[in-house]
C-alpha cells in the first residue's frame, strides 16, 4: 500500500513534465499574425501560403474524418497544424483516413502522395489540388 502511494507521488512530477508541451503553437501564431484588424474574421492557419492554402471547409471536413477515425475526445484540439502521428494515428489509421478522404471528396490518392501527407493541412491542400485536376 505504501509503495502505491509512493508511485502516485512520483506520478504527478512526471505527468507535469509530460503535460507541459500541451500548449498549441497555433494559438501563438494566430495571435501575432491577426492582431487587432483581423479579429472579426477567421483566417486559415498558414501564414506564408495563404494564396494556395485549402479552404477552411475542406480543412474542417478533414478534421471531422480524422476525429472519427481516431475516436478523439471532444476536448482534443485538432486543426490544420495537427500531425496525424501526434494525434495517435498508426499506419492502419492513416490508410483509413486517406480512404475516408477519398470517399468524402470523390478523389483517388496515390501511394506517393499519401506517404507525403502528415498533417491535416497537407491533406486538405492535396485534396483541393486533386479536385482542381478533375
Amino acid at each position: 500500500m505504501a509503495s502505491v502511494t509512493a508511485s502516485s507521488v512520483k506520478f504527478s512530477s512526471v505527468s507535469s513534465l509530460i503535460k507541459q508541451n500541451q500548449v498549441s503553437n497555433l494559438k501563438k501564431a494566430s495571435l501575432s499574425f491577426t492582431g487587432n484588424a483581423f479579429q472579426s474574421r477567421r483566417l486559415p492557419v498558414r501564414r506564408f501560403h495563404v494564396a494556395c492554402a485549402a479552404k477552411p471547409e475542406t480543412v474542417n471536413k478533414v478534421v471531422d474524418i480524422v476525429r472519427k477515425q481516431l475516436a478523439l475526445p471532444d476536448d482534443r484540439a485538432v486543426n490544420g497544424e495537427s500531425k496525424f502521428s501526434v494525434l495517435g494515428a498508426d499506419s492502419l489509421d492513416t490508410v483509413e483516413i486517406v480512404m475516408g478522404l477519398e470517399e468524402e471528396f470523390g478523389i483517388c490518392v496515390e501511394e506517393e502522395s499519401a506517404q507525403s501527407i502528415s498533417t491535416v493541412q497537407e491533406a486538405a491542400d492535396l485534396i483541393e489540388e486533386l479536385l482542381e485536376k478533375k
Partner: protein, 319 residues
Amino acid sequence: MRSGFLRMKLHCFDRTFIRYSHSLNAVQLPAPMETHLWYVNPSEVKSESLLKQYLDILSPCERENVLRLQGKELRKSALLARALVRTTITKYQMSSPVEPRSLKFRKNVHGKPEVCWPSIDDWDPPPLHFNLSHTSSLIACGVTINSQIGIDVEEKQRSIKHNILSFARRYFSKYEVELLAAISDPQIQQREFIKLWTLKEAYVKALGKGFSGAPFKTFTIRFRGVMEGDSEAFNESSTKGFEIVVDSLDDPTDVSNIWHFSLLELDGSHYAAICTEKQSALDGKINIPGKLMVWKTIPIVEDEYVSGTDAVKIICGFQ
C-alpha cells in the same frame, strides 16, 4: 514525518532498479537465419520511476517527440518503443562500449532507421539489423544479423472503421480480396484480414522503401502448401505444411525466393508478422529453416525467454 517515509520508500525503489540492470546479461548475437524478437506489454510497466529512467536514456530529439504526443497511453507506448530498441540493441555487444543512451540512429536513403555505431579502435560493432513495431498494447523489436528484417504487430481484435472487403478492394491485390471474400464467418474474416495486413506491412518494412516503394496492391501474400506448391483454400485451424509467400505483380524476379515470412500469436492477444531475407538469397546456400527466439521484456528490469511457452504460438513459418 510522513513525507520522509515516502522519500525513503522512493529511494529504495530506485536502488532496486539499479541492481536489476547490472544482473541482465549480454545476449549472443543471432546466428545466421535466426531471428530474435523482443516484446514489451505497456500495461505491465506501471512504475513512474521506471518510465522516468526510460525518458533519461532517450536522445533529446526522441524525448521531444515523445512528449509532444497527445494522450498519456500514446506517450507511454512511444517511450517504451524507444527504450526497447535502445536497450535491446546494446545487449548484443560483447564488450559494452555503447550504452543505451549513447546509441545513435540514422535513416537510410529511403528513410528506414538503422544504427549508427561509433568507430572505436579495436572494436567491431555487432553487425545487426533491427525493426520496430508498436501498437498501444504491445511493442516489439526484431533482430537479425546479415538479413534485412521487417516486423509488424497488431491486436488480433483490431477492428477497422471501413468494411473489410471495401478496404481490401481499395488496397489489397485481387487474389487477396478473393481470399477474404470467400470467408463467410465475419470473425474469421476479420482475423485473416489483420494477419494479411501485418504480413504486408512486414514485407514493406523489410524492403525499407516506405509505403510507396511497394504499394500494397502490387504484391500478393498468400499461404502455399509446401508439398504441392499450389495455393489451397485457407483453413484457419491447420497451417502446418504451409508456407507464406509473396508474389510481386511489378517485379519480374521471383521475390518469393528472396523473402521468408513468419506469423506468430503473442500473449494470445496479438499477431506478429516477421519478414526476413532467405539464406539462399543471401549466400546461395540451400535454404535452412530459421529458428526463432522470443523474449518478453521490461527494459532495464527483466527479460523472460518465452519461446516454447504459451506466450508464443507459431502460426506459420518457423519450426
